[in-house]
Symmetry: C2
Amino acid sequence: MTNDSYSSKIDIRARERALKILYEKFYDVLKDVSEGRPPKLVIKKRTLGNTIYDAERKLLLLGDATFERSLLDLREARKFMQTLLMAGIIYEALSNGEYPTIRDLYYRGKHTIRYRKLPTKSIGEENTWEEQAESDSVLRDIEVFSNVLREEMLILSKEKGKVVGDLKIRSGDDIIDLSKMGHGAYSIEPTPDLIDFVEVNAELVLVIEKDAVFQQLHRIGFWKKYRAILITSAGQPDRATRRFVRRLNEELGLPVYVISDSDPYGYYIYSVFKTGSITLSYESERLATPHARFLGVMMTDIFGSTKLGKKPYLTEEERRNFIIRAKERDIKRARELKEYPWFKSERWQIELNEFLDRKVKLEIEALAGKGLKFLADKYVPEKIEVGDWIE
Amino acid sequence: MTNDSYSSKIDIRARERALKILYEKFYDVLKDVSEGRPPKLVIKKRTLGNTIYDAERKLLLLGDATFERSLLDLREARKFMQTLLMAGIIYEALSNGEYPTIRDLYYRGKHTIRYRKLPTKSIGEENTWEEQAESDSVLRDIEVFSNVLREEMLILSKEKGKVVGDLKIRSGDDIIDLSKMGHGAYSIEPTPDLIDFVEVNAELVLVIEKDAVFQQLHRIGFWKKYRAILITSAGQPDRATRRFVRRLNEELGLPVYVISDSDPYGYYIYSVFKTGSITLSYESERLATPHARFLGVMMTDIFGSTKLGKKPYLTEEERRNFIIRAKERDIKRARELKEYPWFKSERWQIELNEFLDRKVKLEIEALAGKGLKFLADKYVPEKIEVGDWIE
C-alpha cells in the first residue's frame, strides 16, 4: 500500500498538522542535544494537587504547576527517555500514514535495552516500559506538553458512541445523513474533531447512558417526533462521544440533556460529560460540555419532593416493583460525590441526600418497563418542557 | 404517539407475524383452560444433556428431548405461570407497538402476588420472579416453544457490532450505503433478519474481535483495497452480529474469516461465530456460521511449525517483546477447549497443544504494533491467499 492511497484528505491534512506541531515542540530538545546542552522537558503536572475545579467555567482543569523532566536527573532519566521514545514512535507512525492505538503504541515501544553497568562493566537489562499503564502515562505527558490531543495525532481507540438524528455530517470523504440509518445507528469515529457539521435540523440533544434504551427510543421514532439528536455513550462515555456532544452544544448551540440510571454511577457519568473526569482533567477544556443538563433519572422523580413541589412519576406499587436496594459501595460513592465541588449545588445535594436517606436506586429500564410511551412521550418531553433538570 | 406512526413498514409486518405465531402457539393452552382441561406446555429441554454437537452440520443444536410444563403439577406451576405471564407481556407490547428489552420485560412482569394460604387462610406473598436470570430463562423457553427468536418479537438489546464495506442494505425505511460511512461505521441493528441486502460488491468478510483494530483497518482503507466487508464484534459477539455474519455467508455466499487474540478466549469467540454457544444452542440453527474460518492469530503464526511447514510471522526479538505469559485460567480454559468436540480436529489440537506447551499468548494489537501495513498488507492477505486458516 503506497502512503495515503486510501487515507481521506482530512486525515492527510490532520497528519501534516500533527507532524508540524510535534516537530516544533520537540525541536528545542533536539537543539539542546546537538549543541551539547543537557536536554529537558517542562511539562504541566497531572497530579490531583494540580487539578482544579474552575467554578466559573464549570470545568475540571489542570493548574499551572509544572515539572522539569531532564535526561541528566537520575530520578527522571528513565521517564525522559520514555517520553522521547513515545514521541519518536508517534512521529514515525504519522510519517508512515499509520493509525496506531494506545495498545499498539505500547507494543511498538516495548523492548529491552542492554547496557554495561559501571564500575563492574557487567551487562544490565532494562525494559523500555513494563505495563501499558506506563506507556499511557507517557502519552498523556506528550498530550499535555504539545497541547495536541492523541486524537489529533490520529491515534485511534475502541469507540462505543452512537448517534441518530436529523443531522448531516462530513466525515472522511463522505457526507452522511444521520436521519437515514434505518434501524441501525451511526457509530462515532475516534477523531470527532475531523467531522464537519453540514446541515442540522434539530432542537436538542438527548444522551442516553444505556445502549438498549437508545435502541428503543430510536425505534419508536423519538428523535423524529421531538426533533432530537439521539446519542448513547453505552456506559461510561469515551473521549470521542464526549467531544462530539461538546461540539453539538458549542458549535450548533443545541441544549444537551443527559439521562442515566438513578445511582451515584449514573450521576457521575453525567458529570464526566459536563465537568470532565478527575484523572484526565487536561482534556476537559476540549471534551467537557459545561452546559449539559441532567434530566434524570432523579431521586425526586421517583419519590417526588415537597420541598421542590414535585409529584413523583412512579406510583407506590411501581416503586415497590422497580426500585433496587443500594449496595454498600453505592452509598460510599454517593458520600464521595457529595464532597466534589461540582456536586455542591443545593439542587444536587437534595438528590444525593435523598439517595443516602432512602438507600435505593432505579434503572432507566424501569421507566421503559412502565411503558416505552411513558418514557418517550411523557417523562422526557414533560421534564424538558417544565425545565425539571439540574444545570 | 399514535400506534406505529413512526415504526417502519418492516417493523409493522414483523409485529403482525410475531403476534400471529404467538397467538397460534398459545391458542391450545387457552382452549384447554376454556374447555376445562388442565393446561400444559410441551417444550424442548435446554439442558446440557440435550445439547448435541452435530458433526456433519458443524452446529451445536438442541436435541429432541422435551418436558411438560403443567399448571397442575406443583413443581411446575410457578414456571407455568411465569411462561404465560411473559407471553402475555410480549403479546401486549407487540400489540401496543412497543419495543421491549429483556431488562424491561423483567420489570414489566415483576410484581408480588398475594394469596390466601390453605388451610389457615393466612395471607401469603410470592414474587412473579426475583432476578432477571429467571425472566430471561422464561423468555428462552418461549423462544424454543414458539420457534420465534426474541428479535422476531421485536425485543431489542444492547448492540456492539459494526460494519463497513461495499454493501448497500435496506434497514427500516432507508437504503444505507455501508461504503459511505466516512471514518465512522454502521452500527448493526438488534433485528438483523429485517435487513435486506440490496447490492454487494465484495469478495470476503473479515471479522475482527477488537474494535480498535477494526478502526485501524477501516481507516487505512483495508476493505477498499481487498474488497472486504469489515466487521467487529467488539469482544464476545452478540446475537445480532452473529446473525448478520451468518446471513452474509449464507445469502451472499461470501467466505467469512475471523481474527481474534491468540488465546483460548479468542479461539472460543471464533467458535461462537462458527458453532454456537453452549448455553444458547437453540439459536445456533439461525445464528451460527458453520463455514466461518479461523484466520488467526494462531500459535503457529507466532512460532511457525515444522509439522505444517510454516515459517513464523514474528522474529525472535518480536516474540520476546510481544508475547504475554498465559495465566492459570488461560491454561485451564485451553484444556476445556481441547475436549470440546468442535475443537477435536487435528489442526485445532496442534494449536491447543502448542498453547499448552508454550503457555504464552498474543494479542492482535501486537501485530498492528509490528506495523499496521504488516497486518493489513501482508499477514491477512497472505494467509487468505495460501489458505492458512482453520475450517
